[in-house]
């Protein structure tokens, strides 16, 4: 498989009053065409900053980006905002977390949607309007002809998120980045939106990245999962391997903290005590050591590297959990 999207040693730092804030500390990842990668991490783990910086959405005097970001072999980081804009929407599309604020509240759905098609694809108005209805049907919106006349506030959160998805796939992107696409939604609607994303990926042959804080969400929908902690990849494996042969104590702790339907009632959930490290403070230790139940002196004085266990399952830990025999 050739890589469609590659991050190599991507670093993102911000200048703050308190000093340099290290949001992303050297992330290397690649996504093959048609593949779905899940990126999992807590608030503040750098997952959103990573994508925004890679896409050129985060830039400015106080943002320092280094490393390499390649899309279909083309280097994105040195591009100007104008150049990189060409990729947005047409090659790489994004779906954001909050469907409530991502749409323009004072314009009808149809008009703000078709404008994108006219500008991007040079369609004439009538053809664009037709295509909008077609796309809305593709994301399973009931009565799309009526919907285009409505304003965003007349739609529920789930419907707005589907409009956002329809807009994202309008130009047949090769890659869809979904940043917490279902966090603002109910469980029932969440299930619908996840099914929809999976279907569309198959139908359109897109690569997809789902960024989330909930391992449960990506379990059923991604091919591989990268777990992020304090701006670093701490575990990277196929979805099956990550769940069946968890190596990283942090991933294990995340899994145990999910309330499960098949869990026992009245059982105390195993919370991860403490909080992620301060991104301004520098340390030589393993970032997870202060919260890790297995941490030793070595973990507090040395920083582990990302290692392959020989099966393509990567982890960043001196004392990985034992993998059960396959």
């Amino acid at each position: 498989m050739s890589a469609l999207f590659e991050l190599e040693n991507l670093r993102v730092q911000f200048d703050t009053k308190r000093g340099k804030l290290h949001a992303v500390r050297g992330v290397t990842l690649h996504i093959a065409a048609g593949e779905c990668l899940g990126i999992v991490g807590e608030s503040g783990s750098g997952k959103t900053v990573m994508w925004r910086a890679a896409m050129g959405l985060l830039r400015g005097k106080k943002v320092h980006r280094s490393g390499s970001v390649r899309f279909s072999g083309r280097e994105l980081l040195p591009m100007s905002a104008k150049e990189v804009r060409h990729f947005w929407g047409t090659e790489i599309a994004m779906v954001f977390q909050d469907p409530m604020t991502a749409l323009n509240p004072v314009r009808r759905i149809g008009s703000q949607f078709s404008e994108a098609l006219v500008k991007r694809l040079g369609m004439d108005k009538a053809a664009a309007n037709e295509r909008v209805v077609e796309l809305l049907r593709l994301v399973r919106m009931p009565e799309p002809e009526k919907l285009v006349r409505k304003y965003p506030l007349q739609l529920s959160g789930g419907m707005r998120q589907r409009v956002m998805i329809a807009m994202a796939i309008a130009c047949n992107p090769k890659l869809l980045l979904a940043d917490e696409p279902t966090t603002a939604l109910d469980v029932t609607v969440q299930a619908q939106v996840l099914e929809l994303l999976s279907d569309l990926r198959e139908k359109l042959g897109m690569g997809m990245v789902i960024v989330t804080h909930d391992l449960g969400i990506v379990a059923g929908h991604s091919d591989r999962i990268a777990v992020l902690y304090a701006g670093e990849v701490v575990e990277l494996a196929t979805t099956r391997s990550l769940f069946a042969r968890t190596r990283m104590p942090y991933t294990e702790a995340l899994l145990k903290s999910i309330p499960r339907l098949d869990g026992k009632r009245g059982e105390t959930l195993q919370a991860i005590e403490g909080a992620p490290p301060d991104p301004v403070a520098q340390t030589v230790a393993c970032f997870f050591a202060p919260r890790c139940r297995y941490a030793t002196e070595k973990c507090r004085t040395e920083h582990p590297e990302l290692l392959d266990d020989g099966t393509g399952h990567w982890y960043r830990c001196f004392y990985p959990l034992k993998a059960p025999a396959q």
Partner: protein, 329 residues
């Protein structure tokens, strides 16, 4: 569902809160009415946690607030420890309400960003003139310790300096300041990360044991309430679908809606594939709810009877009540 009825009510001495035929309606303009809560009855026993579960717009938050008379319901009775709150004069209601507190969904916007944590937690105490200044200061520290925050580090800071999970701890400390006997938690963890959710759920459980609280826990996520509840009430569009203990609700849900909710919860296990299709569509508008059973428009088992006749809550197995003409067996 759609169901009305009182078959699930328990008339024993342990009942702390009894809600009867509660109706909350809002005017929607053009003479239309939003039927947020339609004739709901339920009760909560001492020391119990009742979970109210349903999708956005099912009226679960409105119901929780109506219990506190915020705003007072259009009709129906809320009887807390033998006192009918709906009939109390304003001042007496205010004072009765100190025994019932609420924890809100968004921990960051529910705290005044200009107030220091010390004042946020002390405020209920000085409003009600509880204790001397020194006693109040001691109480504030004790509360912070109980919710797992170090008073030295947090007393003089403001809410925006804290993460969502920490803010929720502060909110919980504030709600416990008056030593309420009942706590109504409205989606207390849905704005938090999974890893922090577990901390707050465990904290609520601790506080419940420590202060001997009776709790109403409102959530849209059945997996979350499983860990904390003694009794679950599933709501849809302002009505009750099913009431029962978690054991029966999860192992053999009788209502099709309950079963759909359970099937929507993501399974953190890639080897287990979902066997059923997720619930399609979204709830109809509460301005014009469907006739008969309100769930029938999305229900796989709906028949003509469901459109014509509203199902009543009835017992299908010991302690499990369902409002459905064609319950799952």
């Amino acid at each position: 569902m759609a169901g009305s009825g009182v078959a699930h009510m328990r008339n024993n001495d342990e009942v702390v809160l009894e809600v009867r035929d509660l109706v909350v309606e809002f005017k929607a303009g053009g003479g239309r009415v939003v039927n947020a809560v339609s004739k709901i009855s339920f009760d909560v026993c001492r020391g119990e946690t009742l979970a109210i579960v349903g999708e956005s717009g099912c009226g679960k938050t409105t119901l929780g607030k109506a219990v506190l008379q915020l705003p007072p319901p259009n009709s129906g009775d809320v009887i807390f420890e033998g006192t009918n709150l709906s009939k109390l004069p304003k001042e007496q209601l205010r004072s009765a309400r100190t025994a019932m507190q609420m924890v809100f969904q968004d921990p960051i916007s529910s705290l005044d960003p200009r107030m220091m944590v010390r004042d946020l937690i002390e405020e209920p105490l000085w409003v009600w003139e509880r204790g001397s200044e020194e006693e109040r200061a001691v109480k504030v520290r004790e509360l912070l310790n109980n919710v797992g925050l170090d008073p030295e580090l947090v007393l003089n800071r403001r809410s925006y300096e804290f993460s969502g999970g920490q803010c929720q701890r502060i909110s919980i400390a504030r709600s416990l300041a008056l030593e309420p006997r009942m706590l109504i938690c409205d989606e207390p963890v849905s704005a938090l990360d999974v890893s922090i959710q577990a901390q707050i759920l465990n904290l609520l459980q601790d506080m419940k044991d420590r202060y001997g609280l009776t709790m109403i826990f409102i959530s849209h996520d059945l997996a979350v309430v499983k860990a904390v509840s003694n009794r679950i009430m599933v709501m849809y569009l302002g009505k009750i679908c099913e009431v029962g203990s978690p054991d029966v609700i999860y192992s053999k849900p009788a209502h099709h809606y309950t079963s759909a909710l359970i099937n929507s919860v993501p399974i953190p296990d890639p080897t287990r594939k979902r066997t059923t299709v997720p619930l399609q569509g979204e709830p109809p508008s509460p301005v014009a709810p469907p006739s008969g059973c309100r769930f029938r428009t999305r229900c796989p088992a709906a028949t003509e009877k469901c459109a014509a006749e509203e199902p009543q809550l009835r017992e299908v197995s010991p302690g499990q009540f369902v409002a459905c003409h064609h319950p799952r067996s």
